[in-house]
Symmetry: C2
Subunit: 216 residues, 2 copies
């Protein structure tokens, strides 16, 4: 499958590398066509790895990942262009973290709105599925590295078939065993609101190798 990964940071590179290892073709998208990080990533990972602008990345992908920082996400998707986004599934792993007032960060949107909803409203034909934003990127693509994989991933979105295909990617390709569908995209308010506890647990536990399990 051809997959576009928007964002060249650690999250985008880690998810992109996992998708390459799974046999997919991946284009990493960045602001400029000559992004050095993206070039180095593509050079290292071989023929199925490529890079380009956000628009080229979105045009390339049959499936898209938003791995940009929350503050940049809306601008990046605008740059990607509605013609390249329409009717595609976007897996949104971003978080609305605001570090401008120091650490731990606050959220720049929360409570009665969410970043995922803002993205969905800005691009009505895009099928936004919010997931994976509640763990660090190593855990996203390798849940077994924490407690043998015995923990929970949430997803939400407005399109049922989009959620079904994302769930399959999470379970069959990434190895998630417990995936809870919370409902429509407004439920991203709840999963983005898990970041305040995540950043504090990261401080207490001194590692990003953790996640919540919904015990029931």
């Amino acid at each position: 499958m051809k997959i576009g990964v928007l964002g060249t940071g650690m999250v985008g590179q880690t998810i992109g590398a996992k998708l390459i290892a799974l046999g997919h073709e991946v284009k990493l998208g960045s602001r400029t066509p000559s992004n050095e990080k993206a070039r180095a990533w593509a050079d290292e990972l071989g023929a199925r790895a490529s890079h380009g602008t956000f628009a080229e990345c979105a045009a390339f992908g049959e499936l898209l990942f938003n791995c940009t920082t929350g503050e940049a996400s809306l601008e990046v998707l605008a740059a990607a262009g509605d013609a390249n986004l329409a009717d595609k599934v976007l897996i949104d792993v971003s978080n609305p973290l605001d570090f401008s007032k120091g650490r731990p960060p606050t959220l720049f949107v929360c409570n009665d709105d969410s970043l995922a909803e803002r993205i969905q409203r800005a691009h009505p034909r895009l099928k936004v599925v919010k997931t994976l934003n509640t763990v660090n990127c190593e855990v996203m693509v390798d849940p077994a590295r924490v407690a043998g994989g015995d923990h929970t991933m949430f997803l939400c979105g407005n399109d049922q078939s989009a959620k079904a295909s994302v769930r399959e990617l999470l379970t069959d390709s990434f190895g998630w065993r417990d995936v809870i569908d919370l409902g429509d995209i407004s439920n991203a308010r709840a999963t983005e609101a898990l970041l305040p506890i995540w950043v504090r647990l990261w401080s207490v536990l001194k590692t990003g190798d953790f996640n919540v399990k919904v015990a029931r």
Copy 2:
């Protein structure tokens, strides 16, 4: 020990009954001295159970629980009176839920402040420890009813010895096995922010018998 439980709803009654069963003396506090629910609760539970006004309840308790609704908490503690609260430990299990815009509820304080911090600021000599607010009241006092007790409780507060005594109550009396101290009271921003996911999981799972475990 003499314990004052502010609030006569299901949370206050359940915690109060558990404390009575553990051998403590408990006074349930309400707005008026003639609260029928509080009277019925005390009549049922025998000689160690009593009820009274918020001020009488706070004066009685060597340890206090805030089991009022979030919207009422500051008013209730003002009614309890600073002279009755000073230098005591208050276990704050309340949540800033706002149902005025429908369900699921939003939070009336969040992100860069919390209800626990508002309580602490209003009563500087009170030793506020935030805990138990992330599960329903049956699970608060009987964690083993979910997954054999293999899940996590958070606590935070500014006073180390207060937190140590609350931790001991949680583990030795209530049966919690995994209690994570997040730090000072500002960390209540993170645990109160768990309510949005809690209310959605309650809808999906059709039961309040669940909790998060921090897998690591």
